[in-house]
Symmetry: C2
Subunit: 243 residues, 2 copies
């Protein structure tokens, strides 16, 4: 069983996705926010590529439990109910709701992962739980697909990939391909100062400037959630061992 | 002035290449071998994508100084004069020669870099010289394009990217994008054991098995050559400050 890491969506090869267990990472902030939303009792998240798609889908569904969430340029989309801050997705707001979501990088990464056998979503806040679920399922190669930032390498996703590799290694017996080795090494080197890495990253610095410092702090808390989001048939829900 | 790193050919975006100074890295072994060949007195290297293209070009050129070099599956191509081992490219064999070369990853990476303002080729053996040449040229964004191994992240190229970032930073004033930060961090962590990293990498391990251990040793020697290969108009030659 192998683990490899693709640092951006565009770098992912078909061979690296087809039939694999793919862990999609968009730590700032889509996969963090999705984990937080599910943990807060949201029923499901429907990732879509464009804001127009989201608005059309809400009309088509005609379900009053539907909320629209997501960002462009890191800020809430006009007409949407929620932005892309995990701190907005509280039980008071999202419990029992279905959220149609579109973000710049994260939802594209989730869609890119569809040739996989199983797609789970990971961030720093739930990586240990995701690793445990993966090992619990037994065999198979694992591909970690980093969303990156506008098709560029992103530090926070590579860091999370390294944490995932490190957690998987503790629990299972894997051969690490080069991307996994480098990510693990990076994680090990900076593990005592995760928040600093998030602030140092290009996208983290942009979020800080926009006043999203609390999002960085929240996103940096390794393993605070046990929730494992799974993407299947166009929907993200909580994973349970039977899936 | 920015530095960014693309860990694979497929991850490189047009925006990251157009008009930039691009440093192409294929440490195992194309850019190591090209640096060695130029250092040994080879006049020029003509990178081509396929063995067929190489053979046709030799016929078309009708020049007895032409040699064919390169590999498929890491071994010499049938009918070629040379493989892809830097140790084959000695002054006795390559001095005054023109070499048409095709390799699995490196020559593709060089071709991919063509929208750049300037394309230089780097490996561990000549990275400090390449960094010095780049800083000497003055301004402009720098993109480090790793060849990777069959479109996968490769440890040895990421390591070399990190060495380049580290050398550039010593000499110039650059903003590091996330890929450059991660590569530099990786280089710093493993810098005292470069050969071990080469052996640990997927492609390095394959080369070891094929008996190319001495190539790994040669390739691991940081800064032993002062040669700076430049790719321009389809040819790789020695760079001089006027280029
Ligand atoms: Mg992101
Ligand atoms: Mg290579």
């Amino acid at each position: 069983m192998e683990i490899d890491v693709f640092p951006t969506i565009t770098s992912a090869t078909d061979e690296g996705l087809n039939g694999k267990v793919v862990l999609v990472v968009d730590t700032l902030r889509a996969t963090t926010t999705i984990a937080a939303a599910l943990d807060a009792g949201c029923l499901e998240i429907i990732p879509v590529i464009t804001p127009e798609e989201a608005i059309e889908m809400r009309e088509r569904l005609g379900d009053e439990r539907v909320l629209l969430g997501g960002e462009r340029g890191a800020v809430k989309i006009p007409g949407f109910d929620l932005g892309n801050s995990p701190l907005e997705y509280t039980p008071e707001i999202v419990q029992g709701k279905r959220i149609i979501m579109t973000t710049t990088n994260g939802t594209r990464a989730i869609r890119k992962a569809t040739p996989a056998r199983l797609v789970l979503l990971a961030a720093l806040i739930n990586a240990p739980a995701v690793a445990e679920a993966v090992v619990g399922m037994g065999g198979g190669d694992i591909t970690i697909l980093c969303a990156g930032t506008r098709d560029r390498f992103s530090l926070e996703d590579f860091l999370t990939a390294g944490l995932l590799v490190s957690e998987l290694e503790k629990k299972g017996n894997y051969i690490l391909r080069d991307g996994a080795l480098a990510a693990r090494e990076f994680y090990r080197t900076v593990r005592t100062d995760i928040l600093k890495v998030l602030k140092q990253s290009l996208h983290g610095a942009q979020l800080l400037e926009l006043g999203f410092g609390p999002d960085l702090e929240y996103s940096s808390q390794v393993g605070i959630l046990k929730v494992v989001p799974v993407y299947n048939g166009g929907l993200v829900k909580k994973y349970s061992a039977g899936d």
